[in-house]
């Protein structure tokens, strides 16, 4: 490849030793796309024990069944360990990270459409002396916009092999396999990396790429699209339209799929009931497992629709624009720009969101973000909201076929959660967590077409997380609850559910929750849903499964018998505000290093939930 190069194997892959290869690169250079490409479906999400930002690990095989452990690190602009995410990258590269062996090789992923600036990271990474392949990603974009690059000559200047790839299209990946087999030569660097300061380092990057790189034309249609999407009037209107479209389609498009899953589960339940001999075990299976777990699993289509939209918005680059539009609101609440990404990911789940706050350097800002994150409407609330809205809010058209009352109610609940978060932030930032305003910097990537592979992988990932929870937490609670609902036995016969242990627990809390319009059955659900919010749906499924003589009485119809409209609205409000999630409590304790903040947070959220649910119940009951 290069006459001056020394041809020595970079990584000698032996079957006995597992090799660790890390992916490093600036944010938005396509590291995760490459990671997904290389690992395919074998990826899994994992955290470093007790340390900072989430990073992902996966395996992939390089021919002959030999495998490599691939680690996807968070995006960094430099290796100066200043913020915690940079510390992780720094420590992993130097082999100082517990639980991760010192990497055998590095894939340095840079954006080929912005090589000059991205080469900044090459200097510190190459100086580490680890076998490194410089992966210039987004080759398709570079070519389309008329850029050019002489990879061989750049490799000679850098002293590291260079691959030009398109991770999104899967082009050029064979070079990565060749690299891992030690088939690529390491040239002797012609331009030694410069590290002293940013301007000097940038000048080095310019020397490396001058003559050998023609930068692509600016992404014109991205600019044109921004002309509309960041327009003072159309921008915010389109923002609202996008949100409305997402929720309306969750109701209209996902509903038929959900009905299909529901009838499939109902029929399989009946089949089990009829094919097994009558026994407590059969009842446990049909009422506890099928009734409990099944009633949660039917919400899978809704969850997937939500993540399909989030994925499309994220991959296209629109979310960065949404962050820009939302920044004024955030700033008014005293939040800094860096809080936006964690809060956005809290729409999926508060747990990764709270871990993502590790990128916020200011401790007070970080705690404020942690405290408000669980107010954002996470996907575990979706089954609860959908069930109650579908059961109690009659569907009317509001804006022709564009928006119905049910979708509007759902949007209202999302807005309510967001408003509670912002108001709480304002309260915290003007009292106990005051701090100076910290700067906001946001890189706007060009718009890109989302790829099927990337969206598909994400949906698969979400589906497996959802089903795993259904198969573990929800299943255990369902079985436990079924047993508690059948003891104490009197004369070998199970008691009425009202007189069982579960019923007694429900009736103990009933006086406390009666002012909200909830009876003892809802009380049992509130207690079990402390484990995770969607458990209440499974719990009600189990209770009604045991109660009902014929299994055809749907969960919605059963609920309508048990809740008044006031109670239903109160239940929605309660779930919007209450911190019904043990995983969140645990992660807040870990991230803040003690019980103080999770205790305050739990008390505040539950108190607020109780108060607002009580007010809602009174208002609705007085009006209806």
């Amino acid at each position: 490849m290069n006459p001056s190069g020394v041809s020595s194997p970079l990584v000698q892959i032996q079957p006995t030793h597992r090799h660790t290869v890390v992916i490093v690169g600036p944010p938005n250079s396509g590291k995760s796309t490459l990671f997904n490409r290389l690992t395919g479906l074998r990826q899994k999400v994992a955290n470093y024990p007790g340390v900072t930002v989430e990073s992902r690990r996966g395996q992939f095989s390089v021919t002959h069944g030999r495998r490599v452990d691939l680690v996807d690190l968070p995006g960094v602009y430099s290796l100066e360990p200043r913020s915690e995410d940079e510390q992780v990258t720094h420590d992993v590269l130097l082999g100082r990270m517990q639980g991760t062996p010192k990497p055998d090789a590095v894939l340095l992923v840079l954006d080929a459409t912005n090589l000059g600036r991205h080469l900044l990271l090459a200097a510190p990474v190459l100086s580490l002396g680890l076998p490194t392949l410089v992966v210039l990603n987004m080759a398709d974009d570079l070519q389309k916009r008329g850029g050019q690059i002489d990879t061989t000559a750049i490799a000679n200047k850098l002293g590291a092999p260079v691959a030009l790839v398109s991770a999104a299209r899967g082009q050029g990946l064979e070079t990565i396999h060749e690299f891992l087999h030690g088939k690529l030569a390491i040239p002797t660097p012609l331009e030694l990396p410069v590290l002293q300061n940013v301007p000097a380092c940038r000048a080095w990057a310019a020397r490396v790429s001058s003559d050998l790189y023609r930068a692509p034309a600016p992404p014109l249609w991205s600019r044109r699209l921004d002309g509309v999407l960041l327009h003072p009037l159309w921008g915010p209107l389109l923002f609202v339209a996008v949100v409305v479209a997402v929720f309306q389609s969750i109701f209209t498009a996902a509903q038929p799929v959900m009905n299909g899953v529901e009838s499939l589960l109902a029929r399989s339940g009946q089949w089990i009931a009829s094919s097994l001999p009558a026994s407590p075990l059969r009842d446990l299976l049909v009422e506890g497992v099928w009734g409990g777990v099944g009633s949660v699993v039917v919400f899978l289509p809704q969850i997937l629709f939500l993540f399909l939209f989030i994925g499309l918005l994220e991959d296209s680059g629109y979310l960065a624009r949404a962050a820009l539009i939302a920044d004024r609101t955030m700033a008014r609440a005293g939040l800094q720009g860096k809080s936006f990404i964690p809060l956005l990911s809290a729409y999926a789940c508060a747990v990764p969101a709270i871990m993502a706050t590790r990128t916020i350097e200011n401790k007070r800002d970080r705690i404020a973000t942690i405290l408000i994150a669980p107010f954002m409407t996470c996907s575990a609330r979706l089954p609860v909201y959908t069930l109650i809205i579908a059961a109690f809010i009659p569907e009317h058209r509001l804006l022709g076929p564009l928006l119905g009352t049910q979708a509007a109610a759902m949007i209202g609940l999302y807005v309510l959660g967001f408003a509670a978060a912002i108001l709480t932030a304002k309260l915290l930032k003007s009292s106990i967590l005051k701090s100076d305003r910290t700067p906001f910097v946001l890189e706007l990537p060009p718009y890109r077409w989302p790829t099927f592979q990337s969206i598909g992988l994400r949906l698969l990932d979400r589906a497996s997380v959802f089903l795993r929870r259904a198969g573990t937490v929800i299943l255990l609670v369902a079985i436990g609850l079924w047993i508690l609902a059948h003891v104490p036995l009197s004369g070998g016969k199970a008691p009425e559910i009202r007189d069982s242990v579960a019923g007694a627990i429900g009736r103990t809390v009933e006086p406390v929750i009666a002012p909200l319009g909830f009876n003892w059955k809802i009380g049992i659900g509130l207690i079990t849903s402390l484990a995770a919010r969607e458990v209440i749906v499974g719990t009600l499924g189990t209770i009604y499964g045991i109660e009902s003589e014929d299994d055809s009485a749907g969960l919605q119809r059963a609920l309508r018998k048990d809740l008044t409209p006031g109670g239903a609205v109160a239940l929605l409000i309660f779930f919007a505000f209450a911190m019904q999630c043990m995983s969140t409590v645990a992660v807040v304790r870990r991230e803040t290093g003690g019980w103080k903040w999770p205790a305050i947070q739990f008390a505040y959220m539950t108190g607020l939930a109780y108060l607002c649910a009580w007010v809602a119940n009174r208002i609705v009951t007085a009006w209806v």
Binding site: T113, R117, P199, R328, P439, L444
Partner: protein, 81 residues
């Protein structure tokens, strides 16, 4: 001093589409470094772009990418035309 009489200009003085050369970053070292890594280098060219509805934050084109800054940060970046 040569600077006398010459008005101090910052990124906030640029109209949309106007370009300028960055002179100095007047902010704490750590944050200046971050901005330099993103392309706001003294001597570098910057073009003012669109802003979010309401005028803040604003997008600037530097070193081949588009970066949005809040008004208060743009005030700390001195430029000359």
């Amino acid at each position: 001093m040569q600077l006398d009489g010459k008005q101090r200009r910052t990124l906030t003085d640029l109209r949309r589409g106007e370009h300028a050369v960055i002179v100095r970053l007047e902010m704490p070292e750590a944050f200046a470094r971050r901005l330099m890594e993103l392309g706001f280098l003294p001597g570098g060219r910057v073009v003012a772009g669109r802003s979010a509805p309401g005028g803040d934050p604003r997008v600037f084109e530097v070193d081949g990418s588009e970066i949005a800054l809040r008004h208060e940060t743009a005030l700390q970046i001195q430029v000359e035309k």
